[in-house]
């Protein structure tokens, strides 16, 4: 493999490590500063001098914030919405992926092309008609209304199909000869084999849905239906404008994604590298 570090003259190595150190610092510093802000007192904030390491850590910010706005409700909403969407993906994406990978029926090619064509329809284009549709179905400001536009994705189905394709047809045919129908084959043979792929799907879906900002901004009209993303914006606008308390909210929003990433980091990165390749 040819890359910069392997062709190491000492100068190249120093440059490479200096660039990487700068990149890491740039990636990490905003988070460090946010955590620092969340532990500063009002006096620190109003002093007009930026502080990275506060003299006294103001942990009371983390107590205050729960009293200023229904933060617990925001978090609960986020878990209900992102969790609901993830569950629906886990039910439908592998099943439809299986049908396209291992079953034969007239019209399969056309239907698969039709499915993939939905990848060309970005969310922004659907934003207004989805609002109209959701309003017509009486789902504005409800969990169903927040969940349904993201319930299935061609991307998830395609990913599952890619993982199911390599399962040997002999295995499936043998089960068919033994009289198993495709639902049983799917449940008993295919699903157990693609557990890692299901974990990938769940992880990516949950993390990205937890961050969804635009759709809740459009359909939610009451404070108590907000997920944490739009809840925090509301915070910033209406409840207070102090950086320390806003940063405290930011840290709370950031913790679930961070913990999930920390635990699954190697696996997560491999998933992204795998799923991004066509």
């Amino acid at each position: 493999m040819a890359n910069l570090a392997e062709r190491k003259g000492p100068v190249t190595s120093v440059v490479v490590y200096a660039v990487l150190a700068a990149a890491v610092l740039l990636a990490v510093f905003p988070f460090v500063y946010m955590i620092s802000l969340s532990l500063q007192s009002d006096a620190d904030i109003y002093s007009g001098i930026p502080i990275v390491i506060p003299e006294t850590l103001q942990f009371s910010n983390y107590v205050d914030i729960w009293q200023r706005a229904p933060f617990a409700r925001f978090i609960l909403n986020s878990f209900i919405i992102a969790g609901g969407i993830t569950a629906l993906h886990l039910i439908f994406d592998p099943l439809i992926g299986y049908v396209f990978a291992k079953m034969n029926f007239p019209g399969k090619g056309v239907m698969f092309a039709g499915l993939l064509s939905t990848l060309m329809i970005p969310f922004f284009i659907r934003m207004i008609p989805l609002y109209i549709l959701t309003a017509q179905m009486g789902m504005l400001n409800t969990y169903q209304g927040l969940i349904m536009p993201f319930a299935m994705s061609a991307y998830g189905i395609f990913l599952m199909r890619q993982f199911i394709l390599p399962i040997p047809n002999d295995l499936i045919d043998a089960a068919r000869i033994d009289g198993a129908n495709d639902l049983i084959i799917y449940w008993r043979i295919v699903l157990p084999q693609i557990k890692p792929a299901l974990a990938t799907l769940a992880l990516l879906t949950f993390v990205f849905q937890f961050n969804e900002f635009l759709w809740p901004l459009i359909v939610v009209s009451t404070t108590e239906m907000r997920p944490i993303t739009t809840g925090l914006t509301l915070f910033n606008q209406e409840f207070f404008t102090q950086w320390n308390l806003t940063a405290t909210g930011g840290v709370i929003l950031f913790v679930p994604s961070f913990l999930l990433f920390l635990v699954t980091q190697r696996y997560f990165i491999r998933s992204v590298m795998m799923s991004g390749m066509k």
């Binding site: 034969n104 060309m120 284009i125 961050n211 990165i269």
Partner: protein, 295 residues
């Protein structure tokens, strides 16, 4: 034989039954919305859910001569092309360093990738506090160095590029990971053969790595352009579209037209036009970059 006609028919029936929820879902949530959007774009006001007057194609002709629409469209192009080009360039640079035996490279990858998976709400909050004109750390550092300070997100000449750099900061880790995966897939023999022929490292990069990465670059460029052309969170959360509309991206303009000014018909026409632009951009990118893939 097991594969009798009746068995095939039964399998087909089962397949259709299993696909039915999916077909219904994609029809209702992906294809029908495009129909509604086009229909709504022929009205003024709030078609299908409120008062509206039929206007034919008037929304489209109005849009083409609407100065704000033209301006925000241009701003969006600068934002999408700028963010995409920088993200890919920096991502490739980091990937070519990190795909090799650099110490702690998996940890470094993870750290650089992490901003990609957090909400833009947090990204905006962090960078607004860092760039705050009065209490922000960047300006204080500039003062300490004796350099002039700047209200980065609050000055028309710097706001758009500041926003672009923040988006690059968030997205670059993803491009980096995809490039690393692609670089690791390039057969080592190619480089061995080239070095036997006396190729210099930069020649190998230009003649082997870059051409072989063309499909990856195409993939990243297409998905980045599609997502940046419809970006709303960045301007909404960082600048509110200001100062003086300098960061009013097209999608944010459409969002406000639809949900704040409640002119859903006009916003639908704008949105439909953007749909066509996105299709054209994707098509051109495939044409241009595909030519380079065949070398």
């Amino acid at each position: 034989m097991l594969r009798s006609t009746t068995w095939r028919q039964r399998q087909a029936l089962l397949a259709y039954a299993l696909l039915l929820p999916g077909i219904a879902y994609f029809a209702l949530y992906f294809f029908y919305p495009i129909v509604i959007e086009f229909w709504a774009s022929l009205f003024r006001g709030q078609p299908l859910i409120g008062n509206a007057q039929f206007a034919g194609f008037a929304n489209y002709t109005t849009a083409l001569s609407d100065a704000m629409v033209q301006r925000s469209f241009l701003i969006t192009l600068v934002y999408a092309v700028g963010t995409t080009a920088l993200t890919l360039a920096v991502g490739l640079g980091l990937a070519s360093v990190l795909s090799g035996p650099v110490r702690a490279n998996t940890a470094v990858r993870a750290v650089i990738f992490f901003p990609y998976i957090i909400s833009f709400v947090i990204v905006a909050l962090m960078w607004k506090s860092l760039l705050d004109p009065y209490t922000g750390i960047l300006n204080s550092a500039l003062v300490a160095l004796g350099l002039p300070t700047q209200n980065w997100l609050g000055t028309p000449s710097t706001a758009l590029w500041t926003m672009i750099l923040i988006s690059v900061w968030k997205d670059v880790g993803y491009a980096m990971l995809i490039y690393i995966a692609a670089i690791q897939g390039i057969p080592a023999q190619l480089y061995e053969a080239a070095s036997i022929d006396g190729a210099k490292p930069h020649q190998m990069f230009l003649r082997i790595t870059l051409p072989l990465l063309a499909p990856t670059t195409l993939f990243l460029a297409v998905i980045s352009m599609i997502s940046q052309l419809q970006e709303i969170a960045a301007p909404y959360l960082l600048t509110g579209g200001g100062p003086a509309n300098a960061t009013r991206l097209f999608s944010m303009h459409v969002f406000e037209t639809a949900f704040e000014r409640l002119d859903i018909g006009y916003a639908s026409a704008l949105s439909f036009m953007m749909f066509i632009v996105i299709l054209i951009v994707t098509f051109i990118q495939f044409k241009v970059l595909n030519r380079e893939v065949v070398y």
